[in-house]
């Protein structure tokens, strides 16, 4: 038997028994970052492939990344305990710090996502414009829009790698911590990227009004779900082949307090059920497409919450 106790006037109700310093804003931020990355990736990629005309939902979906990234950034700053010094992130670049990478990638991607949206504003949201009449009020917008449309290709070339870095980063932010065994797994980067792409595809399905487009993104989403299940299987197998601390970390997800959340909501409702529904739909049966899409999005959100929460319960014992 081995037992360790903190004793002596440690008197530290704020530290004992466990150090939970990342809260829901971080989980939300990781989810929104992945979602935005997914949509931006598809939007830029299909634009570069010259297929944007066929898939109008991509334009409509352009409205999501700027909102998601703005809320995500607000959530992140909200979780900082010394927020007045946030500018310190941008007086340096620390190549070994995932947080630093994230801060810089977001600094570039967020405004770019706004510009990308604006370049579609008049063509994708004519109703809004007829209400707001922005172009009537501000003459220079005309020129600005022209400039953006002319440079869309460059924006798309930048957005493809940026969205991939953003998506991977949401996982690496956690996996870089060797002190938290549940996070310390290199597969988290690709896994969170895949999950982000999948939620992005799901959001596009939700916004789509045309069958062919929905089918294409259902197929893409299905492929991503299969990859995600494979990666999660790898993750679990990796932990079971790991050391004692990793075995203990896995106990939280398999048999421990997060089991129902993980297998019930993430694996079953967030991956398997939507995959089955999407297959049924593709086979030609009638399924409301919104159902699998919403399940995928909620599953992705819960997955982030579980990983952030459970990871902080795991640690080295000495």
């Amino acid at each position: 038997m081995e037992e360790e106790l903190f004793t002596s006037g440690r008197n530290i109700p704020n530290i004992d028994p466990s150090l939970q310093i990342w809260h829901w804003p971080i989980s939300l931020y990781l989810f929104l970052g992945g979602l935005a990355a997914g949509i931006l990736f598809f939007a830029a990629l299909f634009y570069l492939m010259g297929k944007e005309k066929q898939y109008p939902a991509l334009k409509a979906a352009a409205v999501i990344p700027p909102i998601a990234l703005s809320i995500g950034l607000l959530a992140l700053v909200y979780d900082l305990t010394h927020p007045l010094y946030t500018w310190r992130l941008y007086t340096t670049f620390r190549i070994e710090s995932p947080m630093s990478w994230g801060a810089w990638v977001l600094l570039i991607t967020t405004p770019l996502s706004f510009l990308w949206l604006f370049s579609y504003y008049r063509s994708a949201f004519p109703k809004w414009e007829s209400k707001l009449k922005l172009f009537k009020k501000f003459k220079f917008l005309e020129k600005f829009e022209k400039f953006l449309i002319a440079n869309r290709t460059y924006m798309a070339y930048a957005l493809v790698p940026l969205s991939i870095i953003l998506g991977v980063y949401t996982g690496i932010l956690l996996s870089a911590f060797n002190a938290r065994p549940l996070w310390n797994n290199a597969i988290l980067g690709p896994l969170f990227l895949t999950s982000g792409l999948s939620t992005g595809a799901a959001a596009i399905i939700l916004l789509s009004r045309n069958r062919e487009e929905r089918h294409l993104f259902s197929k893409i989403d299905l492929a991503l779900i299969v990859i995600e299940i494979a990666l999660i299987t790898h993750m679990i197998m990796g932990y079971y082949a790991g050391s004692q601390v990793q075995l203990e970390a896995m106990d939280l997800l398999v048999g421990g307090e997060f089991t129902l959340m993980f297998f019930g909501f993430v694996i079953l409702l967030g991956l398997l059920v939507p995959a089955i529904l999407e297959v049924i739909e593709l086979l030609g049966y009638k399924v409301p497409v919104a159902v699998p899409a919403i399940l995928v999005i909620i599953g992705g959100l819960i997955f982030r919450f579980i990983m952030v929460e459970a990871g902080q319960l795991t640690r080295y014992l000495y």
Binding site: F6, S8, R10, I12, T81, P83, L89, R94
Partner: protein
Amino acid sequence: MRYAMVIDTLKCVGCSDCVVACQTENNVPHGYCRDWITEAVSGSYPNLELELRSERCNHCANPPCVRCCPTGASHVVEGGIVLVTADQCIGCGACIESCPYDARYQHPDGYVDKCTFCHHRLEKGQQPACVSVCPTKCMYFGDLDDPNSEISQLLKNRKHKTLSPEAGTDPHVFYLI
């Protein structure tokens, strides 16, 4: 120059004087601490073994807390001491997550705080507060690079360990066992 601390677990009685001395010396806010006592019991009755350890930041030679800091607030100074500059710290908590020893905490004022090896006292040629008050004199502090220093000699002659060396941080607080 490589500062390190050596703590004799056979002499420590777990009185917590070091904890209180640190809280007083460094104005640690109420409800927090930079060092603490761990009581580790191992074995099965009646063959139980008790180890008392005064623990703190290990001023690791491969500090993940410094690597993950996005602003450079966490940094290493001469002698291998790991410090946090309060007005560069944004309170993101990355360093807290990265420390296998949970040696850092968020100060109520927002920035992250931890043991400094009493850097301000070293500059005046004094020992860290915890070392200087220990009634059993079980703590030693000095330069590991100097083969004649008290700590180098102790580590040469006594059996010792560090905490969770498998975490790969190369900790520099040593425990005599």
